[in-house]
């Protein structure tokens, strides 16, 4: 340990811009961290606590309810599997939370896949267009700019049983009822709003590809599909993966759209956010908190999978990458030198990244 510290110490030099400014950093960061503590930190702690409490049901002899919360351990979580209280929507009879979990997952998988394919297709078309690209780009921002709740009300009018969608189709589809067709109503509305958004991000990625790469591929006799899979996709992947990750997390949290368009307590479109909210409205704060935590863990898992499997670079921070790379090197060096090491303090600042 001592030798490494000794090695590290001389590397530090006085630098007005980047040295010894921990206090200043603390001051500058404190408003942000304070906000995060109040609206994220404290609620999370309370949420975790709440998840282990519940109010006993039933009334006393005067018809008054109990209001004292009791510690119930993991009951709010285990009740999900023990409960005999089933709902029967699209997936067959099952617990309401499991049902909402399946809905959430179904919406996420279907919406994100359709959005990605449609979005990439839109981007490819826009990349080819020279005339009128401004118009397309402007119109593509329209769905994105409309508030979700407004678009929910708009689609509600369109999907009415006597509405224009059924008029065009010439059929009476009960979009706003409670069944598989309601799920597709939600998917259509969600894809409408967000596919252009993915298209826009992908287009930005496409435009960073130098055209001579394609020229070279053409010379080598690559056909259009090969160009797409061997050049275009790999080159837009970093942009696309981050866009898809954010869309995935957003869809997992979906609330406004099914709530405004189809309505609360419709099991075929009830997402985990909606169910948790509904439980809180019925004054069952304990289960509501438990379900919200399950959703949160699910989100963390998905984000983790994205980062580790697809290599989504969410933080996008060169400096941190450099730091961790240096740590790895130091560790490897230490290992090679035959003694264990602790991470060294780094001296890297922006503007002087190690090569």
């Amino acid at each position: 340990m001592a030798p490494i510290a000794a090695v590290a110490a001389p590397k530090r030099r006085k630098n007005m811009l980047s040295d010894g400014q921990g206090t200043l950093a603390a001051i500058l960061l404190s408003p942000t961290m304070l906000v995060i503590l109040v609206v994220v930190g404290i609620p999370i702690i309370m949420s975790v606590r709440e998840a282990f409490f519940a109010i006993p049901s039933g009334v006393d002899a005067n018809g008054r309810v109990f209001t004292e919360e009791q510690f119930v351990g993991f009951a709010n979580f285990t009740d999900i599997f023990a409960s005999t209280d089933m709902v029967n929507a699209v997936w067959g009879p099952m617990n309401r939370l499991v049902n909402s979990f399946l809905n959430t997952t179904f919406f996420t998988v279907v919406c994100v896949i359709i959005e990605t394919i449609l979005g990439v297709a839109m981007a490819l078309i826009m990349a080819r267009a020279f005339k009128g690209r401004g118009l397309v780009r402007a119109s593509i921002l329209v769905p994105w700019a409309i508030p979700t709740i407004v678009s929910a009300m708009m689609w509600k009018l369109i999907f009415d049983s006597a509405g224009v969608m059924n008029k065009i189709l010439g059929q009476t589809v009960l979009w706003l009822g409670d069944g598989p067709q309601s799920q597709w109503a939600v998917i259509i509305a969600d894809v409408w709003k967000t596919a252009p958004f993915i298209g826009l991000l992908t287009l930005a990625g496409l435009q960073t590809i130098p055209s001579d790469v394609y020229e070279a591929a053409k010379v080598d006799g690559a056909n259009a599909w090969q160009q797409f899979t061997r050049i275009t996709l790999p080159m837009v992947k970093p942009a696309l993966v981050v866009a898809v990750l954010f869309r995935t997390l957003d869809t997992l949290r979906m609330f406004d759209l099914p709530f405004g368009m189809i309505g609360p307590s419709k099991y075929s479109v009830e997402t985990m956010s909606m169910f948790s909210y509904q439980e809180a409205r019925n004054l069952r704060y304990g289960p509501a908190a438990a379900y919200a935590i399950i959703l949160f863990l699910y989100l963390v898992l998905i984000a983790f999978l994205f980062v580790s499997l697809l290599g989504a670079d969410v933080v996008g921070d060169e400096e941190l990458k450099a730091v961790s790379a240096q740590r790895k090197r130091a560790k490897a060096a230490a290992k090679a030198a035959g003694h264990s090491s602790t991470p060294t303090r780094t001296t890297i600042t922006s503007g002087e990244s190690p090569t």
Partner: protein
């Protein structure tokens, strides 16, 4: 050196986190304990006077403030301030509950409570028990008074009421040679067939069968109108016995044979009104508000002047409507309960209810107003409405009304979906499950 500093910071962070947890844990012990149980009524002081706040949903007519101004002119030392909540019923309920949770900070004195919330609010000790001896409720609709009581105690004063009406196309029935509106479902279907012979493509009956509170009202009417009792005299649910299932099966059967259109699975009040106004159906079950809108002659209603109203039909005779409306209760936390009590007495007097009906079309709870000649002239549906409200049945009085109504909607929606599309659940199975669930909920 650096490690020591790191360790110190980690320790500090850990300590502050645990302090927060401890804080959260402490505060839970101080949760407002509901129950000043039962003793509330005996200790309530009904003499304190002073300014109060009256809380209700959005004043869409703009008339409520005018009545309050009238009170304030006469009671300068006991001024009433109107607090308008959302126009969304669920949000009104939520605001009232949140306000009651505010320890000592509650500023709601008089609450306008939907008939189905009374039990929940009373059980959560949000409403003060009212002194029956100071309120003369003779002459008020018995069903509305009953909806204001919980565990035999009075918690609110009925202020408005509502009941279902059957709107029908008088022109089409006349043309088919039918002089009287149907009183039974069977007659209604026969009438429809006669009308449909001349007007092919017209639907028969419209109701509210989307999965929402309106479905609870509708299914309760089908059960009660078949001689069943949604809740029996002792308050126990009876939703799967023979009589109740006769109503449910009739409804499911009408979905199956197309008497009720498939798309009615997504209808609320507005969609059904729209269909009736567009001339798409012969009969419509709806609330009194439709009357003025369907009578509009600006081109929005194709049936203006062509329809009439009747009590809703039943299995063997006139049906039983579901009771709607609002009651006025006094918050347990009100500091000026004396003023609050005087205010609700004054507000719900016969004279004020009459003025209220004229201004806002809200149906009164004072029986005599339904035969008031001036009113029946202005509101031609009033006599029919009375025959509907007179026999109307309240929805279940359940503390967890949100759970109860959702269970009812689950069963009803599954059953009618089964009738309309073949999916969903067999009606008997659905209502057996409902019976079990309601029994636990009502307890």
């Amino acid at each position: 050196m650096s490690h020591a500093r790191t360790a110190r910071r980690v320790l500090a962070a850990a300590l502050s986190v645990s302090a927060l947890v401890a804080l959260a844990a402490c505060s839970s012990g101080a949760t407002p304990s509901a129950s000043t149980s039962g003793s509330a009524s005996t200790s309530t002081d009904w003499t304190t006077k002073g300014p109060i706040n009256y809380v209700q949903g959005k004043d869409t007519s703009g008339y409520v403030q005018k009545i309050i101004d009238k009170w304030n002119a006469a009671n300068a030392d006991q001024k009433v301030t109107l607090i308008e909540l959302s126009d969304n019923a669920d949000q009104q309920r939520q605001s009232m509950i949140n306000n009651a949770q505010t320890k000592g900070g509650s500023n709601y004195d008089v609450l306008s409570v939907d008939v189905v919330w009374t039990a929940e609010f009373a059980a959560n000790s949000m409403l003060a028990e009212l002194p029956k001896d100071q309120l003369n409720l003779d002459g008020y609709l018995p069903a509305a008074v009953d909806a204001s009581t919980y565990f035999g105690k009075l918690y609110a004063m009925p202020s408005t009421s509502d009941g279902a009406l059957l709107y029908y196309r008088k022109d089409l029935l006349d043309a088919a040679g039918i002089t009287n509106p149907p009183t039974t479902w069977e007659e209604m279907v026969t009438d429809c067939k006669a009308v449909q012979e001349k007007n092919s493509g017209i639907g028969c009956y419209g109701g509210q069968f989307q999965k929402y509170e309106g479905l609870t009202c509708n299914i309760a009417e089908w059960i009660n109108s078949a001689g069943g009792q949604f809740l029996d005299a002792s308050g126990k649910p009876q939703v799967n016995n023979e009589a109740a299932m006769a109503g449910v099966n009739a409804l499911v059967g009408y979905f199956k044979d197309g008497t009720i259109l498939k798309e009615e699975l997504t209808w609320q009040e507005e969609q059904s009104r729209q269909a009736f106004q567009d001339g798409k159906i012969v009969f419509l079950r709806n609330w009194p508000y439709v009357y003025s809108l369907a009578s509009k002659t600006d081109g929005s209603s194709k049936v203006a002047g062509k329809f009439a109203i009747a009590p809703i039909p039943g299995l063997t005779g006139p049906g039983v409507s579901t009771l709607g409306g609002h009651n006025m209760g006094i918050s347990e936390f009100s500091k000026n309960k004396g003023t609050a009590l005087e205010f609700i007495k004054w507000w719900n007097s016969e004279e004020n209810q009459k003025a209220n009906l004229i201004q806002t079309s809200n149906a009164p709870t004072v029986v005599s107003l339904y035969s008031d000649p001036e009113l029946t002239k202005k509101f031609p549906y009033l006599t029919t409405l009375y025959s509907s409200i007179e026999k109307a049945q309240a929805r279940p009085k359940v503390v967890k009304y949100g759970d109860a109504t959702l269970a009812i909607q689950d069963a009803a929606y599954a059953a009618i979906t089964y009738g309309a599309t073949g999916q969903g659940t067999d009606p008997k199975a659905a209502f057996d499950a409902l019976q079990t669930k309601l029994t636990t909920l009502i307890g």
